[in-house]
Amino acid sequence: MTHLMETDVVVVGGGVTGVAVLRDLALRGVHAVLVERFDLGTGTSGRWHGLLHSGARYAVRDQESARECIEENTTLRRIAPHTIEDIGGLFVLLPGDDEAYAGQFVEGCKASGIPTEELSQAAAHRREPLLAPDLKLAFAVPDGGIDSWSLLRSMAADAEARGCRVLVRHPIVGMERDGDRITAVRVHDAVAGEDRTIGCQWVVNAAGAWAGDVGRMAGVPITMIAGKGVMVVMASRYVHGVVNACRKPADGDIIVPQHEVAILGTTSVQVDSPDDISVPPADVDRMIDMCAQMVPAIGSGRVLRAFAGSRPLYKPEAPAGGGSGGLKGSPPEGRDGEAGGDTREVSRTFTVLDHASRDGLDNMFSIVGGKLTTCRQMAEAVVDRLAERMGVTEPCRTATEVLPGADHGTHQQAAPLARVERDQAYGELLCECELVTRGQVRDAVASGLTELEDLRRKLRVGYGPCQAAFCAWRAAGILAEADGKDPEGSGEPRGDAPVDRDRDPLVGLERFLEERWRGQRSTIWGDQARQALLNHAIYRGIFDLRGTGVPDEAAAALEGPA
């Protein structure tokens, strides 16, 4: 049987963990191919609040996770500063909060190696003027913001520069086994519409919340708990740095400023499937009301969107027969969890599963649990085990090798404005909300991006308060021009190329608008209701688009994080 390609290792899953595994392998000189069903970062890695954990959030209850976080927080600042907003964080104690918890918090941080600084009410207000006037005190911690798409792009680019491959829009559909070994991974090329196989020596399952599905294809049981978290996007930042409630983690206790917006988080509810990313309006209301206790202005603020992500929580099997649990990470305590239950009691640490000793499947590992902040460490743990089995002696270098792009230092909030001012590009703005220029879009299209969705993840087109009212169709025009039909400025009537239905720019635009809509449904009232009806009056009223290019099933299945 001939394969599409042969490789040493197939990595399944294009979230931060999978891409970190790919980079780790690349740095050790191992050839690997990553397969992802949609685009990079479309699962949990793109559906989260963007917090670079200091670990303080886990300092009281889960100190192993806390220690992992502070270690990786420090490492990521070194290897990927360009993906990080170095904004710091506060834990605020409000009237009614348990002061004893504050004591445990400080002790826990100390024990976990997380530096804290106690701030008086006045000092906290100097730092964050919009904090509740009656807060009692606050603790400063080294939280930060991190842009996971930027991190993904840098890690993937580094891995590809070292000879590894990334195949997006290649969902895995099966595995070929020969006795105790997997010989090939079967994928579906969603663009070409064909199934293909990739011959391999090893498989790393880094599918996160979907790791159980991949396990099933390989014939090994992996029980994941889908822990849904709802997040709300506010139209402005409100705070300079991250703000957490200094209490036992609960709904609506964190505000993460990110680029031009703030993200409120989060719920933690067990659901039946990681694909359940529905957003009940009551959850949105609770996020806002809870976060408004810390920053009252949020209570009457403008809400852009809400979205949900699925935490990749791992539930170890009860020890039975020779099967052992994980190789790293203590067994989580607390409830088993059933649909609807709170999943906060499940540890946020990670676990490497060697399916040889666990299930008698010789050449597959899974890496489960964990968090974005610890993705590099997770990759190191699983690749260390894999390398040992492969006989690769090259040590892990991901903690010291700096990522491409890192030479610009940490991301500064006003960087887009500074760039526009430097280039005098006011007239070239395509997206006023996010300060994206036509030049940036043209460059991105020239580099091979073909979809508005891709432009959004790379450039933030469509993220701002108007939710794509003006930028989407300007960008669609540039995409249409890039299809090689009529370069602007030719001065000649041209454009006789037949319209390819799949590349019809209006269909792509309609899909994009429907995807943006999905995340707005539960947050539309007040000003946003006006904005939504204005956008409708533009696209349906003026431009007479009726969405006929997007079939219902396609609209329902639209991929992509908020």
Binding site: G489, W525, A537, R540, A555
Partner: protein, 419 residues
């Protein structure tokens, strides 16, 4: 302060109501929070473009197919005709002649290359031919002015070709001007007002349109001189020019707004712009004064009649609350709410949205009514987008409802004694 009539809102309904009431000799004060749908729309007069999702050819006839309670049913077909006739006369007098027939819809070309159904079109958008859709016959050059970001000739031409129109895309260079690096449609339109600029622009536009029978361009051909810059440029280029509707602000809408403003000033209408009405004072079943924000305080204007033209949710006449209830913002009139905010909108953006049709229920004299259908105030009349029972965007009825209800209000108040 006092006035015979206070009109609140400066969208298509408020502007037409104020003008028509002033024409009957009433002393009118127009209060407005800001601009309305002249600026945000397609720059056309939509009367009825679609019913039940199906495209309408004969808008006045299709009124029969609208559901009960629609504003057109309340005012009657003759008020629609009266509103359109009045508008056509007013616009032509102001140098903004419109083409079209109230009994027959026609197509308006958009920057997306779609052909939207509408009724009356300003001449620059109407095209050389007559009838519906046939105005883009033969070879069509879709031409942008180089560097103008709100128009993509490639996108437009590709869609027109899908509709069977022989369209190609091109770009015309702009002569050197003050805004060679940064410009909006408004600035470009203002530049095109200048005859010298047009002379320098024409040769490049003519080259881009060479061989075509019609050139489709973005709707930016002049701002303050009516349709004269369009007509002049068309003559210089030697090819019929058709303005395509693009994103707000609508330049044709700005031309119309300026014409309204001039007309209202000529009629002696007082005008407070940027000062929203925030409440009313009542005496029994009458409103006696309108409270509005002033420079330093809330002021009350005593009035005989109040006309609310504040718009629906989109126009800011109604606030959609987090819990699914709706609040009318000036007089606190009742508005039917929803079973939670998820019911406001459809699951698909480009579908229809129940919230767009939310509004104030009125009687045949356009007076707000309670749940039992009894008038809540005898001297308050609602017009335009504020009215319940119509979806201006999905139906394509915004300007038609505005003009028809303005006509009705003018007729009603003309019949009452002038104080």
């Amino acid at each position: 302060m006092r006035a015979d009539v206070v009109v609140v809102g400066a969208g298509p309904a408020g502007l037409a109501s104020a003008a028509r009431l002033a024409e009957t000799g009433r002393q009118v004060l127009l209060l407005a929070r800001g601009n309305g749908f002249t600026h945000w729309g397609a720059g056309a007069v939509d009367v009825l473009g679609r019913v039940g999702g199906e495209t309408v050819d004969r808008p006045l006839a299709a009124i029969d197919r609208l559901p009960e309670g629609h504003p057109y049913h309340l005012v009657g077909r003759e008020a629609v005709r009266d509103g359109l006739d009045w508008f056509s006369r007013f616009a032509a007098t102001a140098g903004l002649t419109h083409a079209g027939d109230p009994d027959r819809n026609r197509a308006q070309v958009t920057a997306f290359g779609t052909l939207r159904p509408t009724c009356l079109l300003p001449e620059p958008a109407a095209g050389p031919g007559t009838g519906s859709g046939g105005f883009l016959g033969g070879r069509v050059a879709v031409v942008n002015f180089a560097g103008f970001r709100d128009f993509s000739p490639v996108l437009c031409a590709a869609s027109l070709r899908k509709a069977g129109i022989d369209a190609g895309a091109a770009s015309a260079p702009l002569p050197a001007w003050d805004h060679d690096r940064y410009f909006t449609g408004v600035e470009l339109a203002r530049a095109i007002d200048d005859a010298g600029f047009r002379r320098r622009l024409a040769p490049g536009l003519a080259r881009a349109a060479a061989g075509a029978e019609v050139a489709v361009v973005p709707a930016v051909l002049g701002l303050n001189r009516g349709h004269e810059p369009w007509a002049d440029l068309q003559t210089l280029v030697g090819t019929p020019l058709v303005e395509a509707a693009t994103v707000p602000p609508s330049i044709p809408g700005l031309r119309l707004f300026a014409a309204y403003r001039a007309r209202l000033e000529a009629l002696g209408v007082r005008w407070q712009f940027g000062f929203p009405a925030v409440g009313v004072e009542r005496d029994g079943d009458r409103v006696t004064a309108v409270r509005s924000e002033g420079a330093s305080r809330v002021q009350a204007t005593r009035c005989q009649e109040l006309v609310l033209a504040t718009g629906g949710v989109a126009g800011n006449g109604i606030e959609a609350n987090r819990d699914g209830t709706l609040t009318e913002r000036v007089a606190g009139l009742p508005v039917q709410g929803f079973d939670g905010r998820l019911a406001y909108l459809g699951d698909r953006f480009l579908a229809e949205h129940p919230l767009a049709a939310a509004g104030v229920r009125v009687d045949a004299e356009l007076r707000p009514v309670d749940a039992a259908g009894e008038p809540l105030a005898t001297n308050v009349h609602c017009v335009g987008g504020l009215l319940a029972g119509h979806d201006p965007t999905a139906e394509g009825s915004r300007e038609g409802v505005a003009l028809a209800t303005a006509a009705r209000v003018a007729a009603l108040l003309a019949a009452t004694t002038v104080r």
